[in-house]
Amino acid sequence: MRIDYPDLSDYDVSDYAVSHGRPVVAVKLQECFGWAETPRLVSGRVPVLFHLLSPARRPVAVTDDLASFWSGPYRQVRAEMRGRYPKHPWPEDPWTAPPTARTSGRK
């Protein structure tokens, strides 16, 4: 199964989980830049729950509404993470930044 979003088409299914009645995608935060619409499964009944991960793959946020995450709590997350992971992109505007799984240095 693949989440209905082009940039995640090769996403490893092992990171996809169904738990507590919700499908979960655990994915690095940077891979979701610009992603506004939360995918829904089972004929649109069940929103996917995103576990947004730090570069060290620790969850920094859990949300099933990506749009409001980018416009609100992202700012706070960015402030905390920037200093700790300077090699990774923490753009001020997540809407326009390209989704990536890489560091900014190799880009």
Partner: protein
């Protein structure tokens, strides 16, 4: 017409003389023939006086059934009592007064008083329940609560219902008479039998407590240190006492008797004779100890088991040294094992032992324990019927027509589990039918003076090893001689050579058993053994036939020898036994034990003979099992074929399981460990999770893929894979993804749901 006994002459100087008139009155009060309980301490002369009194009364009766049969709990006691009465009567042994014990018979047609052991009377009762020719029966020493005496009490009470003219007297040395009086009273509402007491003047008794510094018992039984203490205490007390005092030393068993006696001898004291008294001593030796000291002989120290406690009167004793220990049987039902245990003797026993010192004058008892130990001891002796193996008793009761003892009253009822176990053994032997009553074979077995299992082995084994050899083997096992190092074959050689004092009795048993085997040979079966059993192995073959559940195989390993019995019990072998090293043994006797010989098993083999594995398998063939067990192990079905003899593993080889065995193994593994046994691949796991989500959100037709639901319908989705596993395939070759797809609900699955693609 017989001449009556001269009771005045016989009873001269005996305390019980004064009670004779009471007994006569008590017996006369009950109608034609009465019953009574005589309660009198040892040494009062009841065993000497009551039998001739009853003989005199019987001679007066018109029916002419004049013989009086008197039981004594032990052979030596029966012989000694007969000798004493004959001497006092001035008649020749075997004429007016006689005795019959196993292997020794001195009585004739004219015998008026016959002393017998309880076992002899039991067998007579079975052969002639009316006791023809017998006018009175006296059961002596009923307080000892021997199994056979208890059986006789129940059975004779029943005989009296049929034969109102049979006089029955029970004699006890302790104050428990009412219990017996209730049992043998008159059945027509006459109430309990009268009790005739003999208040006996006991001379002053000086009690001294002399506990040892070492424990009385250690892991191996009675400790050496304690036996030394008993011997030293005896020597010291004997030295202190006035010159010419005879002493009795009570220890629990024959081995302890010889240990204490040899230490006493080695301590010197040339002026003192040390004698040994126990059931395995030769008759001559026993008789010398109980016949008293002749004028001019040196004073004695007699080391004895509880034989001299009440059943034997050793005259002239003024000093008693008491170890306070006795040996009692115990039955271990869970392991099917009987054995003797050494325990504190009851307070009643201790009083009896002490009393032996003050019958003929002031005396002294030295107790080799303290007052606290005395206080903690049980009040009364443990009735044998409550603790013994009841197989023999159950056979007697079945032949008597009272299976399991039904309808009979005993001083204590046999415990139900032990009795049920015994009846079950008899059923397996073919000795009793489904209803518990004795079969024809059972009646034959009851005539053999041995445990019914051995009796059956005598008949079955005769075909394999010959009647003579079978009889010899059974007589060795059923005799009371101890096998050196538990080696029965060696004991057999000793008995055959005739050097052992018990040889004569053994030979007598052999002849009797050979006779029975010959009479029963008509329907002779054939040997259960495929190959002829060689002479050296005959003993083992017979033992294995009798006790197939005790066929044993050596347990491999370092350290002391250990054997595993087919019953599942483990047992050690006595250190230095000539049996050690044999792979297979037929065990006749195994008893509970601790210490080095038990080698940590809790049991030790007391009597056994070597056998070959073929003999073991043939004798215990009903215990042979041959099973293939398939197991799911390391991802595939593996099977082993196990041949076992009861608990003993014979061979275990890997085999290819049949499809059915494989299926069972797979099903069992799935049941205990679930589908994880096969393992979920990443893809299968993901598919299952998606299906679970769909099921949760949409319900039918999406399948329930929870573990219980999947396990419940294995046939619909996993059948080919399970068949492959059952056939030996490995789980690594199986991916559950495709099988799961078989559950997809077409066409709903093709339609999918928006946002969900099954790809």
């Amino acid at each position: 017409m017989n001449e009556t006994f001269d009771l005045e002459a016989i009873g001269a100087g005996l305390a019980f003389t004064d009670s004779l008139s009471h007994l006569t009155a008590a017996l006369g009060a009950g109608g034609r023939a009465g019953s009574a309980v005589v309660q009198a301490p040892p040494g009062t002369g009841k065993t000497t006086l009551v039998p001739p009194l009853l003989a005199n009364l019987a001679m007066r009766s018109p029916r002419g059934e004049v013989r009086v049969v008197v039981t004594q709990p032990r052979r030596v006691a029966a012989r000694a009592a007969a000798r004493r009465l004959a001497a006092l009567d001035g008649s020749r042994m075997g004429d007016r007064v006689g005795y019959t014990v196993r292997g020794d018979h001195k009585a004739g047609a004219g015998t008026l008083v016959e002393f017998v052991t309880p076992g002899i009377l039991l067998r007579r009762l079975l052969a002639d329940p009316g006791l023809e020719g017998i006018g009175a029966v006296i059961l002596d020493e009923v307080h000892e609560r021997g199994l056979e005496t208890d059986l006789l009490l129940g059975m004779l009470a029943e005989v009296r219902q049929l034969r109102g003219d049979l006089t029955l007297v029970a004699m006890s040395a302790t104050v428990d008479a009412p219990r017996f009086a209730a049992l043998i009273g008159n059945h027509d509402g006459g109430g309990p039998a009268p009790v005739v007491d003999c208040p006996s003047a006991l001379y002053p008794l000086d009690v001294e407590w002399s506990p040892a510094a070492v424990p009385r018992l250690d892991g191996r039984g009675v400790s050496r240190g304690f036996l030394d203490h008993v011997a030293d205490t005896a020597a010291a007390a004997h030295t202190q006492s006035s010159a010419g005092t005879d002493a009795l030393v009570f220890v629990p068993g024959a081995w302890e008797v010889s240990q204490v006696a040899s230490r006493l001898r080695s301590r010197g004291g040339s002026g003192t004779e040390v004698l040994e008294l126990h059931g395995q001593a030769s008759p001559a030796e026993q008789d010398r100890a109980v016949s008293g000291r002749r004028p001019g002989e040196s004073p004695r120290i007699i080391v004895t088991t509880d034989l001299a406690e009440s059943s034997l009167t050793v005259p002239g004793v003024r000093l008693v040294i008491d170890s306070g220990l006795t040996r009692e049987p115990r039955r271990d039902i869970s392991r099917g094992m009987s054995g003797l245990v050494t325990v504190s003797c009851s307070r009643a026993s201790a009083e009896q032992r002490a009393g032996r010192a003050a019958r003929q004058g002031p005396g002294k008892v030295v107790r080799c324990y303290d007052q606290k130990t005395f206080g903690a001891a049980p009040a009364h002796v443990t009735p044998e019927i409550t603790v013994a193996d009841l197989t023999g008793a159950a056979l007697i009761l079945a032949c008597w027509g009272s299976p399991g003892g039904q309808g009979l009253a005993f001083p204590d009822s046999p415990p139900r589990p032990a009795m049920e176990e015994a009846v079950e053994v008899l059923r397996e032997l073919g000795a009793v039918g489904p209803d518990g009553s004795a079969t024809e074979l059972g009646r034959v077995l009851a005539r053999v003076p041995a445990d019914p299992r051995l009796a059956r082995a005598l008949l079955d084994g005769a075909a394999a090893v010959g009647r003579r050899t079978a009889a010899e083997a059974v007589a060795v096992v059923s005799g009371d001689q101890r096998a050196p190092g538990a080696d029965l074959t060696r004991l057999l050689a000793t008995l055959r050579s005739g050097t052992d004092p018990a040889s004569r009795r053994w030979l007598d048993d052999v002849r009797r058993m050979e006779d029975i085997a010959r009479q029963e040979a008509s329907g002779a079966g054939h040997s259960v053994f495929a190959a002829p059993v060689t002479g050296a192995e005959a003993m083992g073959a017979i033992v294995a036939l009798a006790f197939p559940d005790r066929v044993a195989r050596r347990v491999a390993g370092e350290g002391p020898e250990r054997y595993l019995l087919s019953s599942g019990t483990r047992a050690g072998l006595p250190a230095g036994s000539s049996l050690s090293g044999h792979e297979w043994l037929a065990v006749a006797d195994v008893s509970r034990a601790q210490g080095r010989d038990a080698a940590g098993t809790g049991a030790v083999i007391r009597g056994a003979a070597p056998i070959t594995s073929d003999t073991a398998e043939a004798a215990a063939r009903h215990l042979l099992t041959d099973t293939v067990e398939a197991r799911f192990n390391q991802g595939r079905v593996m099977a082993r074929r196990d041949r076992r003899l009861g608990a003993i593993g014979l061979t275990s080889t890997p085999v290819r399981p049949s499809a059915e065995e494989g299926r069972v193994a797979v099903a069992r593994a799935l049941e205990s460990e679930g589908l994880g046994t096969i393992g979920w691949s990443t893809a299968a796991d993901a598919l299952r999770r998606r299906l679970a989500l769909l099921r949760r959100e949409l319900g039918d037709p999406w399948p329930d893929v929870s573990e219980p639901a999947l396990l419940a319908r294995l046939d619909t989705w996993l059948r080919p894979e399970l068949e492959a596993l059952a056939g030996g395939a490995s789980t690594s070759a199986i991916d559950l993804t495709d099988p799961l797809r078989r559950l997809l609900p077409w066409p709903a699955a093709t339609a999918g749901g928006a946002g969900t693609r099954m790809a």
